[in-house]
């Protein structure tokens, strides 16, 4: 499926989830799909760490639900993160592995072991039970709502098989935030939802 179309479909299914994007193309795609400037943290500077960042958030705020995107380029750098995620087993966290089979942010350079790695099998081998994979928008629209609504224990891992960005899509706007602005926009949003005190002062 097309990368941005996949993200637009996910955005349609989103209700109150807080989103963390990753290094790679996921920030551009999510920004194109949502223009969300408060409830999404565009963690571009984070090769392989977006789901760990989201795990810290999900641990800290168990009443909120978190979606974390990560490309398979980032995943290849730190697959052991799944061991930590399984160990923490946070029910309020969904890890989306966006498999475009390339290092999307670097002109679609090829991944090692291209086409042979079975990410869902890798996740199951680390003990994850809630493992899903989608190859089409139709399947995503059909099955994702029930997956999302399921009130069952455990952290969720979803593989999204998408096409790499086209040359035109590579020119999609990056989320237009400096790091500190993003920190405060997102943090103030979390504070407003939860009453938590992140920064130690309020304006």
């Amino acid at each position: 499926m097309k990368y941005v179309e996949c993200f637009r479909a996910l955005a349609q299914h989103r209700t109150h989830e807080i989103v963390i994007t990753s290094a790679g193309n996921s920030s551009q795609a999510w920004w194109a799909a949502t223009r969300d400037a408060n409830a999404s943290f565009y963690l571009d500077a984070s090769m392989s760490l977006s789901t760990m960042f989201a795990s810290g958030l999900a641990l800290a705020q168990p009443d909120l639900k978190f979606w974390a995107f990560m490309g398979d380029g980032a995943f290849a750098m730190n697959p052991g993160m799944l061991m930590v995620e399984r160990q923490m087993n946070l029910q309020n966290l969904t890890h989306f592995l966006v498999s475009n089979q390339v290092y999307g942010a670097t002109s679609n350079a090829g991944l090692p072991n291209l086409g042979k790695t079975d990410y869902a099998a890798l996740a199951r081998s680390m003990g994850l039970d809630r493992v899903f994979a989608f190859k089409t928008i139709e399947a995503l629209d059909r099955d994702f709502p029930s997956l999302k609504a399921a009130n069952v224990p455990g952290h969720t891992f979803v593989v999204l098989e998408v096409e790499p960005f086209s040359d035109q899509e590579q020119k999609l706007e990056q989320p237009p935030f400096d790091g500190p602005e993003l920190k405060f926009r997102f943090g103030r949003h979390i504070e407003s939802l939860t009453g938590a005190d992140i920064f130690g002062y309020r304006i």
Partner: protein, 171 residues
């Protein structure tokens, strides 16, 4: 665990708790095993052993954005692997982070494979303008809360470096 090591570990744990630290992400180093065991058995903390040091940086940075106090504990060699994560996440977004690491490769450390840490750990910290505090004596453990507070003022990471004398006793 010797009484001295137990005392140092317990005092460090008390300092962390007094700062409001809840999440402690760890990777082992022989010098901090008593401290990791102490934290693991202490109900004041959620102890998360992680797969690599960079994961601790991501995890604790996210916890900060969720208003949960946290600390990352690792050896000097592990610290040397996290420069990317620190400079990208914590410097780019100005996210506070409190780290604890071992001051390896100094006089008293008999392991030749830590010579590189003795040579380069402090220069690397200086190169990325990252403040650090060496904690060498039990009476200095109280500096932990001061350093933790500084991360919140500075909105970036700071590391306290534990010596062998503190964690294992002089020899």
């Amino acid at each position: 665990m010797s009484d001295k090591n137990a005392t140092a570990a317990a005092r460090i744990a008390d300092q962390l708790a007094s700062c409001g630290v809840k999440l402690v992400a760890t990777l082992p180093d022989n010098w901090v095993m008593d401290l990791i065991t102490t934290i693991d058995h202490d109900d004041r903390f959620v102890h998360v052993p992680v797969n690599r040091e960079e994961s601790a940086i991501g995890l604790c940075s996210g916890a900060y954005m969720g208003a949960m106090g946290s600390a990352a504990l690792m050896g000097a060699s592990g610290f040397m692997t996290v420069i990317y994560a620190l400079t990208k996440i914590n410097y780019s977004y100005e996210i506070p982070l409190f780290l604890m690491a071992t001051l390896r490769g100094q006089a008293g450390d008999h392991h030749k494979h830590h010579i590189s840490n003795g040579l380069y750990l402090l220069p690397v910290l200086n190169a990325i303008s990252m403040p650090y505090q060496i904690i060498d004596q039990p009476e200095d453990i109280g500096l932990i809360s001061r350093c933790y507070t500084h991360t919140r003022t500075y909105s970036r990471p700071m590391v306290v470096l534990f010596t062998r004398d503190l964690l294992r006793g002089a020899h």
